[in-house]
């Protein structure tokens, strides 16, 4: 390494966000490259499935802070450098603009869109260059964002998580993923989750009234009903009775294949389950509760028969009731909860079978349900190397030579690593330029709460927002709000916009601000009453930032997020982020999953598909990696090539 490199590197203080797949590789390469002052934030703890690529961690570290263990591991081969770990969420208030200002450059190895956007804003506010990264399988990318020189991370709108129309999930599934979403977000949530949550599990018969029983009562277990009897009843209700009800609606099945109801007596004719005798002894302290050993199911790659699925369904339900009674009522689906994965797999398969959709193995169902991202060590190592190369250019103020880099699975013009000149900032980016947004909304029916959750938090990505109408504060989030004011805000949240103390109507300009992110947006309100329910199920259309936003993007996955782990993880990569698969059918946008450009938010996931700068063929997309079913592939659209100016021309 040249001396000028070494000088720049030695004097630098860098911040790494994320100590996961990319983070471990990055910390190692930074230390070996001569960096001597590295701060690292990660809120996550180590899991077994990290160990195949997060090489700084060992089995004995499972459960410990990633940031701290990573530090100790690196100091073993590179002592005498300063590595400061923070076992914390990057979105927490201690990491404010002042905090960010102390660094020469910020390096992201994050797993979710939320945190990426947050860091982008802090870097803009603190005027610190950002190197952003992501990987999925063999694909990866590194981008450089320097205020005033390149686009920011959000100049190209990031597609919101995939979601499905409610009716696809509740009534007309056509793919296995729809069945998984149903099993996880509706059935599992209904049986084991928070009872107060809305749930669309029960389809409402079109001719209401002839159902004697309130559908809500169906899921209650009466005191004289044993777990097995209850399980059989639930099975027949959701896979039998509900399907019959749905079949009654001829309109639905005009152009679709009809499902067949499935009743337990047909699948498992013998009265009770065949269990191996030593059942009760199987569940020792250190073994997770599971149906598989007792049912003789060994290989998670196998696809179970319908009868096996029915057995797993009944048995897992029974184990929840008998062994995990205290969890019932507050369970949230977790991909690491073996019994939950077994239940969801079985339920999804039975439903799939009913609708003539091929069944899948537990391994596959777990991947879909848990939004598990494909990850390998090699891509992370390559991407981390590229991050360090870009960081060193930034430290030498060699902005002219900074590149975005794409790691491809199949060569494009002989290249597996493709450098691209950074783009100029998008002048209509609401994050890095002052841009007034336009929001079409029904001010007489939309509550402030919906506006705050769906627009401000989910679309604008603000963490602690303040909403102002002129000088009047309408809403504010934060810890230090006085009680009476907080009560007032809470009251406002339940009011429709036009009835707020300071009325929000057609022509109102609202100012929305996040003090931590130092981001302010002005939003022009336009009253509108008619919305296409499929396109804009939330009845809101935000525009003015980029055409992309006009349609399809009002999908929230935070509100009523009944199935995902905390989404604001400052985590490096574990695919716990909520999203390759839609979390919440309610807010479903009409878009089909295969059209969705990106899953914004899973682990080491690139924020956009390699954007191949092929002169002759600027729209070429290297699609060769999409051999998988399109439900899991994370495809990303090319930014419209014409729209963007490169900062400079390549050779």
């Amino acid at each position: 390494m040249a001396d000028s490199h070494l000088q720049a590197v030695k004097g630098a203080k860098v911040l790494m966000v994320g100590a996961g797949g990319i983070g471990c590789e990055l910390l190692k390469t930074l230390a070996l490259s001569g960096f001597e002052d590295i701060h690292i934030i990660d809120m996550d703890t180590i899991e077994v499935s990290n160990l195949n690529r997060q090489f700084l961690f060992r089995q004995s570290h499972v459960g410990q802070s990633k940031a701290k263990v990573a530090r100790d591991a690196v100091l073993k081969f590179k002592p005498h450098i300063n590595i400061k770990p923070y076992h914390a969420n990057v979105k927490s208030p201690e990491f404010n603009v002042e905090f960010f200002k102390q660094f020469s450059v910020v390096l992201n190895g994050l797993d979710n869109l939320d945190a990426r956007r947050h860091v982008n804003r802090l870097c803009l506010a603190a005027q610190v260059p950002l190197v952003e990264s992501g990987t999925t399988g063999y694909l990866g990318q590194v981008t450089v964002h320097v205020k005033g020189k390149t686009e920011c991370y959000e100049c190209q709108p990031k597609p919101t998580p995939k979601s499905y129309p409610v009716c696809t999930i509740t009534s007309t599934p056509s793919k296995f993923v729809h069945c998984v979403v149903w099993a996880k977000d509706l059935l599992f949530a209904k049986l084991f989750g928070d009872k107060s949550q809305d749930n669309d599990l029960n389809i409402r018969p079109s001719d209401d009234g002839n159902t004697s029983k309130n559908p809500e009562d169906v899921f209650e277990r009466s005191s004289d009903e044993n777990a097995e009897k209850y399980g059989r009843r639930i099975h027949d209700h959701v896979f039998g009775y509900n399907i019959e009800l749905a079949l009654a609606n001829d309109e639905t099945w005009k152009n679709r294949k009809k499902p067949s109801p499935i009743y337990i007596k047909d699948v498992l004719p013998d009265k009770s389950l065949q269990r191996n005798g030593h059942l009760e002894n199987c569940t020792s302290e250190d073994m997770p509760i599971s149906t598989m050993p007792t049912l003789g199911l060994k290989n998670p790659q196998d696809i179970w028969s319908l009868a096996e699925n029915a057995e797993v369904f009944l048995e897992s339900l029974r184990l929840f009731i008998e062994k995990r009674d205290k969890d019932i009522g507050n369970l949230i689906f977790d991909k690491d909860d073996q019994l939950a994965v077994e239940f969801v797999t079985a339920a999804a398969n039975i439903r799939a079978s009913s609708f003539g959709i091929p069944m899948h193995s537990l391994f596959e169902a777990k991947g879909i349900a848990g939004n598990i991202v494909h990850a390998v060590a090699t891509t992370n190592a390559i991407i981390a190397g590229l991050i360090v190369i870009e960081a060193i250019k930034i430290l030498q103020c060699d902005f002219h030579n900074c590149r975005m880099s794409y790691c491809l699975e199949h060569p494009s013009r002989k290249m597996l690593l493709m450098p691209v000149e950074p783009f100029e900032a998008n002048k209509s980016c609401y994050v890095c330029s002052e841009q007034t947004l336009l929001l079409e909304i029904n001010t007489w029916t939309t509550k402030l709460r919906d506006f705050v959750e769906k627009i401000i938090r989910n679309i604008l990505g603000m963490n602690l927002p303040i909403v102002m109408h002129g000088a009047n504060l309408i809403y504010e989030d934060g810890d230090d709000i006085e009680e009476d004011i907080a009560t007032n805000y809470a009251r406002n949240l339940d009011k429709v916009l036009a009835e707020l103390p300071s009325q929000v109507t057609n022509g109102t300009v609202l100012t929305v601000e996040d003090l931590q992110q130092e981001l302010t947006c002005n939003i022009n309100i336009k009253h509108r009453e008619e919305f296409d329910e499929e396109k804009h199920p939330d009845g809101m259309v935000l525009s003015g930032w980029s055409g992309h936003l006009n349609d399809n993007k009002v999908a929230s996955n935070k509100e009523n997020d009944i199935s995902s782990a905390p989404s604001a993880a400052a985590d490096a990569e574990n695919p716990d982020g909520p999203d390759v698969v839609p979390e919440k059918p309610h807010s479903g946008s009409k878009r089909k999953i295969s059209e969705v450009e990106e899953s914004s938010d899973n682990s080491e996931n690139p924020s956009s598909k390699p954007n191949l700068p092929d002169r002759e063929n600027p729209h070429q997309v290297d699609d060769s990696n999409s051999g998988d079913d399109d439900d899991v592939v994370m495809l990303v659209a090319l930014p419209e090539a014409g729209k963007k100016k490169r900062v400079q021309t390549a050779d």
């Binding site: 490259s33 195949n52 190592a381």
Partner: protein
């Protein structure tokens, strides 16, 4: 690949990567035996990747003793190790790598690889060497090729901000993924000797300059001056002279191989640049996993990375097929 199933422990540990390459590939990996000779920062990266991925066994060869100097770019050598003299690089690598994945059998073989007879090579599916002279590279490559069994052979070199990987899979058949299923694909690789004997005048104009630069340095190093020294003042004139000899001999204009590039490589000497090690070790790891699993398009037959332009380029340098 039926028969033995992966254990629950393997399934849990390898979950994320099985989602990338599938169970069959994972089973094949766990049965593959890899030999690495000539240890350095790039090879360390490769070893880490392949051990994490879960190969069956990894055998390390390098009797050079660990010195404090060698630690400037190596995460497999702890600070304490570097002070304890008397242990070989292979032994120290072995200890660290074992910890990365207890399911992989990591071991040390003493001696010089080029003195081993052909039978020794039969124990391996993959042979990787680094830091050897051109003569030895060719020799080991041909020993691999002489065996009945197909042994995949790779070389990897990092020279400052530039790196090169050479791949010889001999006659290689693999499953190529197409949009409508997989098809069987066949590839013929030339040996290192055959590849680099193609006269430069016969190579496509767009062939990366790094290819030629690497050959010039190889030529220089096999001359009387030996290894590049850290002081470029001494080496550079001789390297430029090597360029002239080769260019004249092989019919390429000297201007095709700019001074600046050679200067940069000479200045780097034998030093490795850690980000480039990570990138080369990453690609080499991927290639070896592809070769073992028979899945995915392998590189044929050279790969170059240059941090100066950020390009990672594949060059197919093979004699015209007969």
């Amino acid at each position: 690949m039926d028969g033995e199933e992966l254990t629950a422990q393997q399934t849990a540990l390898y979950d994320r990567q099985i989602r990338v390459w599938g169970v069959d590939a994972q089973k094949r990996l766990s049965k593959a035996n890899v030999l690495v000779s000539g240890l350095n920062g790039t090879v360390a990266e490769f070893c880490k990747n392949i051990v994490l991925a879960g190969v069956g066994s990894l055998t390390l060869m390098d009797d050079r003793l660990v010195t404090e100097n060698a630690t400037h770019a190596n995460f497999l050598i702890t600070a304490e190790e570097s002070k304890l003299s008397g242990r070989s690089l292979a032994e120290v690598y072995c200890n660290s790598l074992r910890e990365f994945n207890p399911m992989v059998h990591v071991s040390v073989e003493k001696g010089d690889l080029h003195y081993f007879d052909g039978n020794f090579f039969d124990k391996f599916d993959i042979v990787i060497i680094s830091g050897y002279s051109l003569k030895v590279k060719k020799l080991i490559n041909s020993k691999c090729r002489e065996r009945q069994k197909r042994i995949a052979f790779y070389t990897v070199e990092c020279r400052g901000s530039c790196g090169e990987i050479f791949v010889d899979l001999q006659n290689y058949t693999y499953a190529q993924k197409k949009s409508d299923g997989t098809i069987e694909c066949h590839m013929e690789y030339p040996s290192l000797e055959d590849a680099i004997s193609i006269p430069w005048r016969d190579l496509p104009k767009k062939t990366t300059k790094t290819y030629f630069a690497m050959r010039v340095l190889e030529y220089f190093e096999s001359s009387q001056y030996g290894k590049l020294c850290q002081t470029s003042d001494f080496s550079l004139p001789h390297v430029l002279e090597s360029r002239k000899v080769l260019c004249d001999e092989q019919g390429l204009s000297e201007s095709h191989l700019p001074d600046a590039l050679l200067n940069r490589l000479v200045a780097a000497g034998a030093r490795e640049y850690p980000p480039v090690c990570a990138i080369l070790g990453g690609f080499l790891g991927q290639e070896v996993i592809k070769a073992i699993s028979g899945k995915g398009d392998p590189i044929k037959n050279f790969f170059y990375f240059d941090a100066a332009d950020g390009k990672g380029i594949i060059e197919d340098i093979s004699p015209p097929s007969k």
